[in-house]
């Protein structure tokens, strides 16, 4: 599966949709709708509502996260927003502010 990468100097202001993995090292503002995996690297900044199957956050996310399978917040990440997912992992050292809904 081809992997989409948003490089560290890239800023996307708008809406991203697709059916493949997404790795974010740069900045995305707007809305993200994927059916696969999103990986927000430590340099990645997302200011958007996210819909995806699974997401791993090592960087910064501001916005609501809706994962149909799994949401994982690694240590040193910063998340502000509501998380809705059946499986949620929040690592030690992760910064999180918002509501959690694990009922789907």
């Amino acid at each position: 599966m081809a992997n989409t990468v948003i490089g560290s100097t890239i800023v996307i202001d708008g809406e991203i949709s697709g059916e493949e993995d997404l790795t974010v090292l740069g900045t995305v503002k707007g809305r993200i709708g994927l059916r696969e995996h999103i990986h927000v690297e430590p340099t990645g900044v997302i200011e958007a509502n996210i819909e995806t199957a699974t997401i791993t956050v090592e960087g910064t996310v501001t916005g609501d996260i809706h994962a149909t399978e799994r949401a994982e917040l690694k240590s040193n990440c910063r998340v502000v927003g509501d998380i809705r997912a059946p499986r949620i992992l929040i690592a030690d050292g992760a910064s999180f502010k918002g509501n959690v809904d694990m009922e789907g």
Binding site: S8, T9, I12, E15, G18, L22
Partner: protein, 206 residues
């Protein structure tokens, strides 16, 4: 791992993309793209956007105006509908394009190339004549120059010779023979003086 930025084939971006690195588009982008580096629209890529970048390489489809500070390249299979503005525009065989092209002031890189090339050519051009000029000068005094000089003087001598021969000829042959013979001999004498004159000059110079 420094992965280059790629918009994958199933991805659809609606909005604005800004960046300072190479961007490869295999999916679809609607909106605007502004890069300080190279934008590559792959064969599967579709871009409906105003595009600004340093270099733009299109192998897929672009609808919108494309402005580059260095070059725009349409490879075979590319389709572009929109205006191109760049110092260098390259259209490959098999590329489809509808729009206008504006070749703006040359970018520093190609200018440097052309000016350097022009300077090199000028220096070569100036150097070659010197060499060529130097070569003939050396052999000319020994071999070529006499013939050249002789030819010039030949013409002059021929011109003078005719007049001189015409003036001189009648008195010499006149006493020996008459009418028709004098004309023939005069004609021969026109030719004759040239030959000894060459030899005399050659010999005298050597």
């Amino acid at each position: 791992m420094p992965p280059s930025t790629t918009i994958g084939p199933t991805l659809h971006v609606r909005g604005r993309i800004l960046g300072e690195e190479d961007l490869r588009i295999e999916g679809r982008v609607d909106g605007a793209i502004e890069l300080s580096e190279t934008l590559i629209v792959e064969e599967s890529g579709i871009v409906v956007a105003e595009v600004q970048a340093r270099d733009v390489v299109v192998r897929g489809i672009v609808v919108g105006n494309v402005t580059a500070t260095d070059s725009v390249t349409l490879d075979a299979g590319a389709k572009l509908m929109g205006d191109i503005e760049a110092p260098r525009v390259i259209l490959a065989d098999g590329a489809a394009f509808k729009g206008s092209v504006k070749v703006t002031g040359a970018a520093p890189r190609p200018r440097a190339r052309t000016s350097a090339g022009a300077k090199a050519n000028r220096s070569r051009a100036s150097a070659i004549p010197r060499v060529r000029a130097a070569r003939p000068e050396a052999p000319v005094p020994e071999q070529d120059e006499p013939t050249v000089v002789v030819r010039r003087k030949d013409v002059q001598a021929a011109g003078r010779g005719e007049t001189k021969a015409a003036k001189k000829a009648p008195p010499r042959p006149a006493p020996a023979s008459a009418g028709k013979a004098t004309k023939k001999k005069a004609a021969k004498k026109k030719v004759r003086p040239k030959v000894p004159s060459r030899k005399k000059r050659k010999v005298s110079r050597r």
